[in-house]
């Protein structure tokens, strides 16, 4: 099995978010970065489990600058065999997907994994883009995946329930909670990761069709109105008359 796992770097879930240059740039100062949780906890771990069960290789791919190597090393420490970094600024989702697809097209991967979304851009689009560019099926929000030879049975999250689908390799899958159990890198894994290669590749020239031009903070919440616990009629009245939602 040749498995490719798309991994991105995101600010830690608890990071304080701020912007610079007239609110046009995310301010990275003092921000702790992590591997996007869906990529690390579920996509990567499920790929490693498949490799352990059936043999093969797990390659990480990241589109980003050299400072991302720290994040990529973490994935190698958890157990990936090697990594590819497309050396550029990940400008937009389509730009990123074009880089990934361009690399993947000559390498005949059986399954390409990504996370259901990045926790910074919340796009949930890179996986679908890669699938389209490679003319492969795409199964999003997978919370369970079993592979029997070349045939996969995948459970995916849909509104208010689950859907079970069958698909043959090669395909692209995006990982949601449940696909695997998070793993922690062992000391041995961390030592071994230092010897594993990160293959740096020059980007493909492609146009950038969408750009974030401005960031805003959400409007500040008005002070919370405290209601007397003995007077729930008052809460109902406020929801009806003031908030006008019931």
């Amino acid at each position: 099995m040749k498995l490719l796992v798309c991994v991105s770097k995101t600010p830690d879930t608890t990071a304080k978010i701020s912007f610079s240059e007239n609110n046009t740039q995310f301010n990275e100062a003092g921000v702790q970065f992590i591997m996007n949780p869906y990529d690390e906890w579920y996509a990567l771990v499920r790929a490693l489990e498949l490799k352990e069960a059936q043999g093969g290789t797990v390659t990480l791919i990241n589109v980003g600058p050299a400072t991302n190597d720290v994040t990529i090393r973490k994935g190698l420490a958890i157990g990936a065999d090697d990594a590819v970094r497309i050396d550029c600024d990940p400008k937009s989702s389509l730009y990123v997907a074009q880089q990934i697809a361009n690399y993947a097209k000559d390498n005949a991967y059986d399954v390409i994994f990504c996370g259901k979304e990045t926790i910074d851009y919340n796009g949930s689009e890179v996986g679908g883009m890669v699938a389209e560019l490679l003319d492969m099926p795409f199964i999003s929000y997978a919370s369970d995946m079993q592979l029997d030879g070349n045939n996969a049975t995948i459970q995916r999250d849909i509104e208010g329930g689950k859907e079970v689908v069958e698909v043959a390799t090669p395909f692209v899958i995006s990982a949601a909670k449940g696909l695997a159990e998070q793993r922690i890198a062992s000391m041995k894994g961390i030592m071994m990761s230092r010897k594993k290669p990160i293959n740096v590749v020059a980007p493909l020239e492609v146009a950038d069709l969408s750009t974030v031009v401005h960031y805003d903070m959400p409007p500040a919440k008005a002070e919370c109105k405290m209601i007397d616990p003995e007077n729930m009629e008052e809460l109902v009245r406020l929801l009806h008359e003031e908030a006008k939602i019931i």
């Binding site: 978010i17 926790i119 919340n122 949930s124 699938a131 795409f138 959400p218 009629e233 109902v236 908030a243």
Partner: protein, 319 residues
């Protein structure tokens, strides 16, 4: 020029999401000074009703074998319709289907995209639209420069508006690629409102002490016609089903009203619910962080307050 909108149907029925999508597309068409055309895939009856929400024309690939979703087939059909109608914007909901389509369509049409937007675009020479980023901690304005643009709309960003009347449905004939994904089963929770579509949500956390106590939550939710939700530890310990888990690692929702009962309000929980229009927090700890994100707060024991609240709603309903 036109705005093309994909109107989702399931088992031959349109859901509220389809009406929201058409409403959004129609308003976008007004911003751009053009018409809104809807496309539906599968054998949904009564597709002409999409005209009420602003579609000037409805295209349908009326084939029951296409009722089961597959992102590759749907992308191909929607892209063909976009080209045939010279679409400048393609709109869909940011639903489980829409999330599988938005990226694919963008790649297929070589179009810039904005996934999960929650406001109408502005068009003062350039096309700009806003979405939440950093799990609701900030808002990004995205400018799309390609001639054709792909946009998916967060559920509950606007209310469907039925102001027009039914229109004619035209059969759309498309080249349909071979199916490579087969749907084996669909398991939906029966009877209740699906969480991502719910306008009212009653959610509870570890303060409930145990799954046996959820009766008061279910009673309140049923009375209001609300969906139920829970915090992550509650789902992790199987007190409640996994699909009720909201937050960073669970579902992100934006209902009109979110009740947070016995939930502390950790940042990862807030990430999934902070776009709710109104938040009511019931917690016995006055220092619970959730109060900072709340519109209305009740500081008391939930086991006392929730039954009283249910009574108050009953009185209100009967008044």
């Amino acid at each position: 020029m036109s705005v093309l909108v994909f109107a989702e149907s399931q088992n031959g029925q349109f859901k509220k999401a389809a009406f929201e999508a058409v409403t959004y597309a129609n308003k976008t068409a007004q911003v751009l000074g053009t018409d809104c055309i809807a496309i539906c895939i599968g054998d949904a009856a009564d597709a002409g009703q999409l005209g009420k929400y602003g579609a000037s024309k409805v295209l349908q690939v009326n084939d029951a074998s296409l009722n089961d979703f597959d992102s590759q087939i749907y992308t191909s059909i929607i892209a063909q319709a976009a080209q045939a109608n010279n679409a400048s914007v393609v709109v869909m909901m940011h639903s489980s289907c829409g999330k599988s389509l938005v990226g694919r369509l963008s790649a297929r049409l070589n179009a810039g995209s904005a996934p999960g937007v929650n406001q109408l675009p502005t068009n003062d020479g350039s096309f700009k639209v806003k979405k939440n980023v950093f799990s609701g901690k900030a808002i990004a304005e995205i400018e799309i420069s390609s001639d054709i643009k792909v946009v998916s709309v967060m559920g509950n960003s606007l209310q469907p508006e039925a102001t027009g009347s039914d229109v004619a449905v035209e059969a759309f004939s498309a080249d349909v690629p071979a199916r490579r994904v087969s749907v084996k089963e669909v398991n939906k929770v029966q009877g209740s409102v699906p969480l991502p579509e719910a306008e009212l949500v009653v959610s509870a956390g570890r303060g409930m002490k145990g799954p046996e106590n959820w009766g008061i939550i279910e009673e309140l939710a049923e009375l209001l016609g609300a969906a139920t939700a829970c915090s992550r530890p509650v789902a992790d310990t199987h007190w409640r089903p996994h699909h009720e888990h909201v937050g960073q690692t669970g579902v992100a929702i934006r209902p009109n009203l979110y009740f947070a009962i016995g939930i502390s309000g950790a940042i990862q929980h807030l990430a999934g619910v902070n776009s709710s229009k109104v938040i009511v927090v019931i917690n016995k700890d006055p220092e619970a962080p959730f109060f900072k994100a709340a519109d209305y707060g009740v500081c008391a024991d939930l086991f006392d307050v929730v039954p009283k609240l249910t009574e108050a709603f009953k009185k209100f309903k009967n008044a």
